[in-house]
Symmetry: D2
Subunit: 345 residues, 4 copies
């Protein structure tokens, strides 16, 4: 058995640990051959890969990023999984002597894994995304690290905010799902948490900021990049204008802070956390989760459990059929948002 490992989409802390787990189990215990394609599907298309053995994965668990590189190059020529495109993948696999894929990625990648599976190509998925918006697993690896970094930023912003009596607005990642903002907000004690799933009006936001001020404190607002205002304001911001009808310059935090300042009279400052959220050494939690999904993926290959994703369920890793989860975006449910909204608002 010769398995091709491939990372696709944005990088996420834990990818190296996942590869190491899969290789130590797959090569050393099950006797597979394993190769790693460089820069995702680019390496597959161009035949650019490295052999993966114990030495290749030595000491990589604590390292951020991913040793193989990753990219958004699509698996299919024009991005469409036509029968021809799928046959081309199978033919290329045969050329390269690859029997199966281990695909490390998020929603897009796991949807590809499911398409390959339906076409009879052997594939196993490992759940990687800092956004945690993948169904079939309690958590994806990379998420805990991203939350930790965001919570640390909140801790830092809070002290400078309190010292200057300012409202600090922190923008974190999360285009479609607000998981990072939700958990970092709880961990850091944000008074206002704004996520894509639940629009709020600028009036409500300012009410919260003012009530925090009335309690003698400075407020900390955490906002996911995909958040949009409720009501009429939503249109304005969505169309590329800021809250004052001018061309929108930066992220949502840079829209929100001046609006808050204008309406409340409280000095407000925006910080966009950006790419630091996805880099650096993974937390212990992510290293453990990633390693275990790698091991479970190798075991599933040994058992022929193709078309599955290594998901965390409670404290166990279970192989979940890709058909059950592909294409499903896991967003923050209403009760989780209400928990935060009512408790800290």
């Amino acid at each position: 058995m010769r398995i091709g490992v491939l990372c696709s989409g944005g990088d996420s802390p834990g990818m190296n640990a996942a590869i190491r787990g899969a290789v130590l189990r797959g090569v050393e215990v099950h006797g597979f051959e394993m190769v790693g394609f460089m820069d995702g599907w680019r390496g597959f298309h161009e035949g650019d890969f490295v052999e993966l053995d114990r030495l290749a994965v030595r000491g990589i668990s604590p390292l951020g990023g991913v040793m193989l590189g990753t990219s958004r190059v699509p698996p299919f020529p024009d991005g469409k999984a036509t029968p021809e495109a799928l046959r081309a993948v199978a033919a290329r696999m045969a050329e390269l002597g690859i029997d199966a894929f281990m695909l490390i990625g998020g929603n897009g990648t796991q949807t590809v894994a499911e398409l390959l599976t339906r076409a009879g190509i052997r594939a196993i998925g490992l759940p990687k995304t800092i956004d945690n918006d993948l169904a079939g697993t309690d958590y994806t690896f990379g998420f805990d690290t991203a939350v930790s970094i965001a919570a640390e930023a909140i801790d830092r912003l809070r002290t400078t905010g309190e010292s200057h009596r300012r409202c600090m607005v922190l923008e974190v990642m999360g285009r479609d799902a607000g998981w990072i903002a939700l958990n970092a907000g709880i961990a850091g004690g944000a008074q206002v948490t704004l996520i894509p799933e639940f629009p709020e009006s600028i009036e409500q936001i300012c009410d919260w900021v003012l009530s925090v001020r009335d309690r003698g404190r400075s407020s900390l607002v955490v906002v996911a990049e995909g958040f949009a205002f409720d009501g009429a304001d939503q249109v304005v911001v969505r169309e590329g204008l800021d809250g004052f009808g001018r061309p929108r310059l930066g992220g949502i935090a840079e829209v929100l802070a001046p609006l808050i300042e204008q309406r409340t009279g409280i000095e407000a400052r925006a910080t966009v956390l950006g790419h630091v959220q996805r880099g650096g050494s993974p937390t212990a939690f992510d290293r453990v989760l990633a390693t275990r999904t790698g091991i479970a993926g190798a075991n599933a290959a040994q058992e022929g459990a193709w078309g599955t994703l290594a998901g965390l369920r409670g404290d166990r890793i279970e192989m979940v059929p890709l058909s059950e989860i592909a294409g499903e975006l896991k967003t923050v449910p209403a009760d989780r948002y209400e928990e935060v909204r009512l408790t800290f608002g």
Copy 2:
């Protein structure tokens, strides 16, 4: 409703966040009165408590330790839950005007919570212990922080070990359950993980260390304090002697390192991590988990769901009947240990 919050047993990162979550929800949303007993049952016996309101819990989430203090003072005079002792607790509650308890603790504390429940006393449990050995919850708060600190220690020891070609032995907490060693070992890439649940012989351990050396590396051994050798050696160490039959001086790491050095000829050094594992600012994961159990506990009190523990099940908090989990020690199952043993050994 007036609820008494009380922390018992060893401190665990996240206790402050749990109290804050419970108070913000209980006092601000549900309108409870809440008080916190100082130093666990001592404060209850002596009537030493503070009022808990929004101001009292302000900014405490990121702080280690616990604002109320904790102790191992027992709830019952001679440690026995006799009918008299239970009636005395109820009488004392009446004197203090307390309607219910929120008990933050591990196995011992939750067993007390169940005993109180059976005696008709209202109690809700929050799952705190760095050891993660409590049933009814995927994780206890404090555990993730302890694992993170232990994994960081492994990262540090590994670099000095490799530089000096030494075998480094790290002892972590875990008298009865090896969860910290297991997860820190995976996260830090330990080649040998030794836990109370699964004895190994000194011969096997030295074989692992030698095979790591033969691969050109220095080995990292993580051992839980409760680990004991397999076979004849077990008796010796258990009786307070070290591996050479001399009076045993320190922890198991200090027994193990010289034995490894003597048998393999590889220089070995022991580090006992000790109390730093339970201190310091909680990880984001623990803050979120603790805050959510606090909120859930307050909600359960509102709903009258007495006799339950706020457990993490997947990504949801569920109230688990104390009767189902009291007295049950959650240890590392064989498949989890085999996963590590086979993959990294």
Copy 3:
């Protein structure tokens, strides 16, 4: 002797440690009375202050921000140190029963301290600024923490940059002096470091980025917010236009990244670190430096060494006459920049 402690300007990690050092020494050893004005000169003008004693400073060293608050409210009504304004300060001191000031701040604050001194008002300065641009001291407290945070951000960005083969551009603080960029760049291994003191052309920058690519690596560019291009480009950017002649949207990093991408064809991404650089728990270095300057300041008050700043000289704290350093901006000298430019470029 009754001393008023006052923080002015931006907050900087270590301010709490400085206050604690000054109070433990001044109150407990020398028997002073000490008070802390809230929010800098605002508290002085409005008589808003707290008594500072051992209890007031308990446990504050590890905390970010500053317990007294800080602001940019000026000491003199219209910002001018006229004889009337100086007399007004002295009169207000008499009203409040204050005999002397301990002024925690950077260049602006220490210039005020010198003006007060010349007017016969007792003042001692403690050197606080994350920018490290104050003369008379090897380092200011807050600087080491800011560098650590920036270096950590570089470590994180590097891993994601390498994984995606991108050029990552990090903007750090430093309007007039490039110390943070210089040291964070060395610590993080940035290939390109751009600081206000030494303009570089966009051609030179792109040459560096391309030569890094030619060596098979992804480049990391650290740029201080006050950096400006050499030559004609400088004018454009300074006038509020970006590198393409459009209205400038954000920081210099957001100008630089698209220019690099356009000219080199290498994907480039900007991150503006922002306010997180000044928040959070100080490093051990900053806590030690700040505590020692506080102690030295209290000792100087005891000895009547007014009109001095507690500066670090090698490993000793020395009281430096404010007259020698007030108004002097300490910038990065040419040999320090050349050291970095030649070695890493």
Copy 4:
């Protein structure tokens, strides 16, 4: 010019950054050839070395330990620098084609560097030791990292100490000099700091612990491994007995904690920090210092300034004659200890 780089003695965070700085400057700017001997003098004796070029030092700055390994193997056969032994070193250099040494080490190593210099062998020293006990430099690299780790341990122990009302005793490294304890104690707010240079009696120590208790707090005692009691107690402990006259089991912390508990009635707990102090990723401060000494060392080689050490003086690196500093142990001066003793006691 072909320079042999060699690390000797215990490892210290920053060694990799020093090598990288020296190589990027020496090879890329000055055109030297450079090689690195493996495991200190062992590699020299056995001709075990690697070529050092840009690729060899890529990305190593943030890594703990040292890529070359280090050991305590002596340069001279029986440890004595006889004329024969020195001639043998010169002869071996000729065999290996080495023109000069760059020696990365502490007191012992720099004394060797001075002996080589006197014998006409070209050598330059870089000041590495976590103990900071080397003359000729304000700080040695590795020290700031060790202090940071120790201060972090104090932060952690303090929270658990306060929660349980315990006296926590932390033992840090420092056999002959108390720098780590001194600075970590200031940074962490230890109430009692005990160092080898200044004995204290157990009565004095217990008085401090009791006065802290009387102020309503739990005390934190930081003690350097080389501390000894004042007066009669000193003899007992020095002779390998503990405070109760029994055979001494572990470090000084394990002697001190039970003595404090017995005499004050306050529960006391010992933690021996051990090897974690010397491992792990260096702080930004140490990376900068180490890199700069490496660059300065390469420049000194280019200028022929042999027999010198790259020392930090204020914010500049200066080449200090080895003859001025070899054999001189830099210990904590009385005024630094008094500063701490009076202020925090």
